[in-house]
């Protein structure tokens, strides 16, 4: 009895959300099946223009992955150096 209303609710909100966004919550495959190349990253920064003085950000700390981790499902890296002049205009962090 309590399940049916929930299903109704899920159908009712379909107009509120793009399906693509919420399918992010559901696994697209099983762990280990997916290579990095098969993934569809949401934002890929490629062929970007050089950062100019007009850029909102000056430089960014780089995160490097081990060469052996290119097709692994995870990679453990050391903490990047913080001796950069990073300048972001917003920061994601646990809620303040």
């Amino acid at each position: 009895m309590t399940r049916a209303p929930l299903k109704v609710a899920i159908l009712a909100i379909s107009s509120l959300l793009t399906m693509a966004g919420w399918t992010a919550l559901a696994a697209s495959t099983t762990p280990g099946d997916q290579t990095a190349a098969a993934k569809q990253p949401l934002v890929l920064v490629q062929n970007i223009a050089p950062v100019t003085t007009a850029s909102p950000a000056q430089t960014a700390a780089s995160v490097t992955t081990p060469s052996t981790g290119s097709t692994a499902s995870s990679a453990t890296v050391t903490r990047p150096s913080t001796n950069t002049t990073t300048r972001s205009i917003a920061r994601t962090r646990s809620s303040r």
Partner: protein, 317 residues
């Protein structure tokens, strides 16, 4: 070419909220900011569990009784939360509020910080209840089972960030920052994206990395900040739906980039709950990228997370 950046910042929902628009008319941007701020204040009045007379508090108080008609706002956010619970098999659970209260988080964090609380009755008396919530579309009403209570804090901020970014996008490329849950639409002209820092939980004034993001959402879930002491033990606000207690994993913070901020918020929380190894593997099966910071300061990230980093030199076209 320099592009004007319009900015507006204010405090609400126990956090600092920021809006950015790149280019366009300053007057239009300020008018849009004012309207968006009003939406945030209205949402706080409706969705805060810390306001005794909020719509959410009244719904929680009505648990076990008749279904309560609710506003479109509460209906929408609760529906999103239940969708997230269903999609994650209950790993994301909006009904952990009783366990959160039992752990001591029964007032706003500003009122909680610095207090040493006495031990309370065993939180394991509580259990997940999200599957028992009745959403009655015909009457636009909700009934909570007896003993259930809802907290929409994190997902409401993500949902609002997405909604407000869609509106501000009428003024141009924009960024909405709801205390760390960030939604982005478009990118400043001539830039690879919006420069969004990922805060270092061990050095709060520093960024671990700056990302170049556009048309995305990013959120961080962590147990590095909202912490307190109870019975001599440190407590935090990330509840494991299985144990109904603050989770103990090796992850200090989890940052996720997804298509929407609300989705990123959910994925980040669930990744943190699972621990670094399982969390990264879980994220790796979803169209999202993540970076987890372990307690020892080491990082775990999905294979293409580093592709999102702002490039220092750039890549020739």
């Amino acid at each position: 070419m320099l592009t004007a950046l319009h900015h507006h910042e204010f405090k609400a929902m126990n956090c600092t909220i920021g809006f950015w628009v790149a280019g366009g008319c300053a007057t239009d941007a300020q008018a849009a900011f004012a309207a968006a701020e009003q939406e945030v204040h209205a949402a706080e009045q409706a969705l805060s569990r810390f306001l005794a007379h909020s719509e959410l508090s009244r719904l929680n108080a009505a648990a076990g009784r008749c279904a309560m008609p609710v506003s479109g706002l509460l209906w929408d956010v609760l529906s999103v939360a239940l969708t997230a619970a269903e999609s994650t098999g209950g790993l994301f659970d909006p009904t952990v509020l009783p366990a959160l209260r039992a752990a001591g988080y029964d007032r706003s964090f500003d009122d909680l910080a610095g207090h040493h609380l006495e031990l309370r009755p065993d939180a394991t008396l509580h259990r997940p209840r999200w599957q028992e919530i009745e959403m009655r579309a015909a009457s636009h009403s909700v009934r909570l089972p007896l003993g259930a209570a809802i907290d929409l804090g994190g997902i409401a901020k993500g949902w609002l960030a997405d909604k407000l970014a869609d509106k501000l996008a009428d003024c141009g490329p924009c960024l909405v920052d709801m205390g760390g849950d960030i939604a982005l639409r478009g990118r400043p002209p001539g830039e690879p994206g919006w420069p969004v820092g990922v805060a270092d939980p061990l050095h709060p004034d520093d960024d671990l990395v700056v990302l170049a993001l556009s048309d995305a959402g990013v959120a961080t879930s962590g147990r590095d900040f909202r912490t307190w002491m109870m019975g001599g033990s440190p407590q935090h606000h990330i509840i494991d739906p299985v144990t109904q207690r603050p989770v103990h994993t090796d992850v200090l913070t989890a940052t996720v980039v997804a298509q929407q901020a609300a989705v990123a918020e959910v994925l980040a929380k669930v990744a943190l709950l699972q621990g670094a190894e399982a969390g990264i593997a879980w994220l790796g099966c979803r169209p999202a990228e993540g970076l987890l910071v372990r307690e020892d300061g080491t990082l775990a990230l999905t294979p293409r997370f580093s592709d999102l980093a702002w490039s220092e030199q750039g890549v020739p076209a």
